[in-house]
Symmetry: C2
Subunit: 363 residues, 2 copies
């Protein structure tokens, strides 16, 4: 038998189509007895509303707004680019995606942008959250207006959003610990230097804690450098630290500023092997693990300056975020657990292809 329609349900329940419709879209004004019979018929027939037909009828288009921090060529630039690549595809699925760039770390601006979107009547919001009362309050207002809210990459309290999509940063740090332990398998000891943007940043702190949790018992871990995510500062501080601690066997760069990391490593290696021609002949002894796969870190992986990159897989995060928004704004269930992305680990040879302009062309 073919898929049942609402007409079938109405017939089975012994009511008119209109009544079945009233129940399905709970418009009220239905006697409980009738309502129950319709519900029963729905369950019995295994009826599922044809969402495409419904959307066609309502002329419904979903409007999803993404509020991302303005990119300085790093991770968020890549994220924005990947989002842009998905726009045409989702346009065909009746989903209009708008990308709004905001000054980074500006909580009032973010809060205001959220309010604006809600007033404008978006169907869903995706936000890189800041752990700030203004933002939380704005998110609560959005939720109060029944707008699904996804926090992306950075979370807030669970009450202020429908779901979080991103990696568990503690897990990422633990994974770095796994890698460090593996790379120190053959050595006696080990001295790890964590490099972070700021100890204030929740995600950085979590990563650092994860590293300690896993590698701490076995390896010695230095006080982390705090670079404020500035490439130049990173380079300076790292150079100094490498001089001061010649015994360093591993570096874990868990913040931004990969170019600075590379510059410092480059310089350090050059100093260590002044007249050596081939890179292959003397591989760096230090183990270098960094976060976020981007052009500089790809290059460093390939040249051997970095050994492994832990990536949060922005493409996958966007897909999950969009999926969550779609389902939530259709009032379908979305398992918040499926928003947690497993960090990917990349080495020299399992680099994903550079994302093309779009996953596919249009037509």
């Amino acid at each position: 038998m073919r898929k049942p329609t609402l007409h079938d349900v109405a017939a089975a329940a012994g009511v008119s189509y209109a009544t079945a419709d009233r129940v399905l879209n709970n418009r009220g004004g239905v006697a409980k007895k009738s309502s129950d019979r319709v519900q029963a018929a729905i369950a019995q027939l295994g009826y599922h509303r044809d969402i495409t037909a419904a959307n066609l009828s309502r002329k419904r288009r979903y409007r999803f707004d993404f509020l991302l921090p303005e990119a300085r060529g790093g991770f968020f630039a890549a994220l924005a680019a990947q989002l842009a690549a998905r726009v045409p595809q989702h346009r065909q699925l009746r989903q209009d995606i708008t990308l709004r760039l905001l000054p980074a770390f500006d909580a009032p601006a973010l809060a205001q942008a959220i309010d604006t979107c809600v007033v404008d009547g978006v169907d869903g919001l995706c936000v890189v959250a800041l752990d700030h009362p203004d933002v939380t309050a704005a998110l609560m207002r959005a939720r109060a207006a029944a707008v699904p809210v996804i926090t992306l990459v950075a979370d807030t309290g669970a009450a202020a959003r429908s779901a979080y999509v991103g990696i568990d940063n503690r897990t990422a740090g633990r994974t770095a610990g796994d890698l460090m332990l593996l790379a120190h398998r053959g050595r006696a000891g080990g001295l790890i230097l964590p490099v972070m943007g700021s100890a204030q940043a929740r995600d950085h702190a979590d990563r650092c804690a994860g590293l300690h949790e896993v590698a701490g018992p076995t390896l010695e871990i230095l006080e982390p450098l705090e670079t404020a995510d500035d490439a130049d500062r990173l380079q300076q501080m790292l150079a100094t630290a490498l001089q001061r601690h010649p015994g360093i066997t591993g570096i874990y760069n868990l913040g931004a500023g990969v170019p600075g990391l590379i510059a410092a490593l480059d310089q350090h290696h050059r100093a260590a092997t002044p007249a050596q021609g081939s890179d292959n002949a003397s591989p760096p002894r230090m183990v270098v693990i960094s976060h976020e796969l981007c052009a500089p870190s790809r290059g460093a992986l390939q040249s051997g300056l970095i050994d492994a990159v832990i990536d949060q897989n922005p493409g996958r995060e966007l897909d999950q975020a969009l999926r969550a928004l779609t389902r939530l704004s259709d009032a379908q269930p979305f398992d918040p657990a499926s928003g947690v992305i497993t960090p990917a680990v990349h080495f020299k040879h399992n680099l994903p292809p550079l994302p093309a302009d779009g996953p596919d062309g249009d037509t």
Copy 2:
């Protein structure tokens, strides 16, 4: 302005809706002049057919058949389970997915199943291919019947399928090489034992070649064990090999039979540290890398018997395969490059959550 409809196109082209429709669905019987004008209008307005409305009207349902080898509780069982979990979701998207299990490595059976599906009028096929002339011929027949064919996990010649979805096994082997090198960073030498199912199997051979390519120059690599993917044989052979080569520093299990691997390792460790209580105190010196994330390999990762698992991410593969089928059977472009999945590397702490029954519930 709202999204243009075919009516708009017809108006812009100065023809009737009927003519525009004839052009769009090229039914023929249209003068070239009119056809050109319609095409121009389509391009100019940026018209895109509303596929959902079209499908609604045609009562179209996609029928996609998946031909998978019968699972013996390993990788293909997981694949089948994940596919089953996706069925209800795609049912709502007008996609009827049928899973057909076939005896493993039976080329004639596979070829016949393919023919049957084509005769039955499937809209798309997804096949774990065998490199056999019968299979290739059947696939060519399918393609001749304009049925999109995706090869999953195992490929054939490019001519016989629309796209391949799966990992590049050479890449996977290279990644194992990366890991081995990393784990041997602190040691003088290294002796690696590859364990494979059969040197005949293309995927196994590729993985082995990748390992040699990357780790070969630096580490010594033994002749691979060939276990025919049998857990018991694997255990036997591995135990023997470990006795014969006490200097082994790394094992790369690139085939099936993880339980056998675990058993052999367990036994070996017990023999090595007879009266030692705590596992933490003396971590195994050998580096063990295996393929395919499944219950046994998860357990072994967590207990520390295995250090890393290279996984081909069956869930992602299925998603890509379904995407490819959808697009191809709508005559939309699909970039074959996007079918190549980057192998994921898992350690003790970045294990993905066990896939639930379905990515989400239904309703």
